[in-house]
Symmetry: C2
Subunit: 202 residues, 2 copies
Amino acid sequence: MINYPSGQQPPERAKAHPLAKTSAKPVNYGSRGMTLEEQINRSNQYYLSHNLAVIHKKPTPIQVVKVNYPKRSAARITEAYYRQASTTDYNGVYQGYYIDFEAKETRNKTRFPLSNLPLHQQQHMKQCQEQGGISFLLLSFRSHQKIYLLPFKAFERFQAESKQQSLPYEFVEANGYLCQTGYQPMIDYLAALDCYLERGER
Amino acid sequence: MINYPSGQQPPERAKAHPLAKTSAKPVNYGSRGMTLEEQINRSNQYYLSHNLAVIHKKPTPIQVVKVNYPKRSAARITEAYYRQASTTDYNGVYQGYYIDFEAKETRNKTRFPLSNLPLHQQQHMKQCQEQGGISFLLLSFRSHQKIYLLPFKAFERFQAESKQQSLPYEFVEANGYLCQTGYQPMIDYLAALDCYLERGER
């Protein structure tokens, strides 16, 4: 989720070690110390429990190579590798709309580097949009402590008009919808989505 | 995907070893020897490449316990376990509709045992339906060589009216939509869905 120099893979540990997310860490209901993914997952739990939307994070795809099947206990995977996801991380349904999005984070103050967003994810968002769904990006600018919902259509427009390999912060500010953050939901991206839908540009 | 006596877990091997699905096996474009999951995945590929729908199988959720990070090569997971999925296996978007389904198979000739369908999956399908999506079951009766799309609403009606722990084949025949099977797509469940949508009972 963090911005790395292009070509370099982020270490898998931060993203892909589910136990690290649920164990040892102290309970902290503020957003500090919580990853963007955790905050979104909690927001989704809130939406689900209040019958506002059914949106889940997809499991991280893992290629299993070796499994042991001990008697009387659970199958144990002894060799496996992370695979690249073929879609975005989140999808679901909100008031009859198919929702599809990817969440990304940067510490960069002035730009959001597109090296963060693989082409096949862009492709997937485009396909969903064309099929009548709503695709967007949730972009977290940590240094500004702001999270924007950027509709895929705005993103696509930027790409058509610019050769730049990163989104200027001003572009996101002007074309995105600021998400209120708080306690419940932690990131109210559906309220931001409502603003977008009300403008009827979908 | 196969029917096991209630309470007994199916062996994880059949379902959860992705390598087993893509290696050693001879290329066979008929449906024989192909699992239901493989047939659905190929149908989804067909739908996607023809811009008819964007529907993907979710990755199998895996709890990672230990990972090695060797220098200059991919992170290697050395201890992990299969987790129970919290949702259904398939979802996506079709002509603006949010689609959510679970595919199950039985060799039973007369009934489809509900022990095949965990409560939390039923709950998830209900939530999606209430949020304006379309939930259904794809039920494959191997002994009849027939695959039915059973709308979640019909399934829910059955449960409200009956205490039975299995769906009679006649009920599925009468309330489900038969899926044409063939070469491309292998299982044309979207054509069956069209029939359902045309009846306007959603």
